[in-house]
């Protein structure tokens, strides 16, 4: 548990550990129950939700910082991670950041480094929902998956960041290897289809979808079926190691 002293120390000493004026924010996508979800944090003693993020250490690349944030929040070391945009407006934080720290009982000194202008590098990550163990940081009391359609309003410009991330994800969807990170090793064709539909935000034709996935060797069918469902047992598939297109 962070004490008031910890937070005050962060204000006074944090710039020795972190590059000031710079942060990474991570839009973490998961897929469960047919819905695309985001991993969000709720700040302590408030209803303020934010994207997981963090500062960049002095001897750490941007990518490494994003990986570290991801690891801290999800427990995962390897995942699909992509930088998609830098957010560098001037009025992105000033107002909110004081409120946030006020809820912790800390009045930020006027000259504190986190109150100054910050440019945030946006990353989005695709993770296997079932492998993630959400874990908040010391400023948050909740760390949860929220369906992307019905998520809480986010602080700062984090709604813009999340929306931009989804747009970026949509654009690079048909590249191929991408969805592998959002699903477990074995999955059914309808599951894969619903993932695509969740990302694209529209429904697809079942038959054409299956045909494309198989013709392009995106996935390989296993000789197993998933039993236990209410209807005909679907085949299981896995992503192909190498593909033609």
């Amino acid at each position: 548990m962070p004490t008031k002293h910890d937070v005050e120390r962060f204000f006074s000493r944090g710039h020795r550990q972190y590059v000031p004026h710079l942060s990474v924010d991570c839009v973490i996508f998961g897929f469960h129950d047919g819905d695309l979800k985001l991993l969000l944090l709720k700040w302590k003693n408030s209803d303020i939700w934010v994207l997981p993020g963090g500062y960049v250490r002095w001897r750490e690349s941007l990518d490494a910082a994003a990986h570290r944030v991801l690891r801290e929040r999800t427990g995962l070391r390897r995942l699909y991670l992509k930088q998609f945009h830098a957010f560098g407006g001037m009025d992105r934080r000033e107002g909110d950041i004081r409120r946030l720290f006020a809820t912790l009982g800390v009045t930020a000194p006027r000259t504190a480094w986190p109150l100054e202008r910050v440019v945030s590098i946006g990353y989005y990550a695709l993770v296997d929902f079932s492998k993630v163990r959400p874990k908040g940081d010391y400023l948050s009391d909740r760390c949860e998956w929220c369906p992307i359609e019905v998520r809480p309003r986010l602080a700062f410009d984090h709604d813009v960041i999340a929306t931009t991330a989804l747009d970026s994800l949509r654009e690079s969807l048909d590249a191929g290897t991408l969805e592998a990170s959002l699903l477990p090793a074995r999955f059914t064709m309808p599951e894969l289809q619903r993932l695509h539909e969740a990302i694209l935000g529209r429904s697809l034709d079942r038959r054409n979808f299956q045909k494309r996935m198989l013709e392009r060797r995106v996935v390989e069918r296993l000789s197993l079926r998933r039993a236990g469902g209410a209807h005909r047992s679907p085949f299981l598939y896995r992503f192909a190691a190498s593909r033609s297109r």
Copy 2:
């Protein structure tokens, strides 16, 4: 002309004007003589070439900083500008930056702010070659267009930045309005085609290209022809105000 004193002042006082650890680098594309070109700077007293770039002022968004850099180097106020990637490795500058300042006769103090870690936000710009009046900054003695295929080696990680910019440009080529920024108000169909070929790095079928451009209403034909060429006079075209696709 900058004096040694100016540069020393920049080292000691620059952080009052600029956000430290942050810069913008601009990959400026122009099109002339059938070649895609980059606007590059050569540092004084050296053979070191770099991309035009600059620091970000305290009360200036990233986009505004990039626009300012573009205006300073090209004289243009309105142009196509797009942020495409943030470069945040740790070893991007340290070695080179000391050499660069050494050529100016300035030995950088160990603790100078420009020697610390810098994250650079990459922008690419598309400009009308004929309207640009290249103008170097006070650290450079040349500011020139270089064909993208035969350009000098660039310092820092600027070759990576330039290559990434071209990749990004290629991806968003067929969006449409983009090429308008690289050509004068009136142009011929072969000129437009060669621009596309220069961006894509491959040749296109003349007939199919013309068909697409006209069918999709990307361009409008004017009732003028360009005389003076050695062969049949080609029609002139302009970009259509609004297009179907």
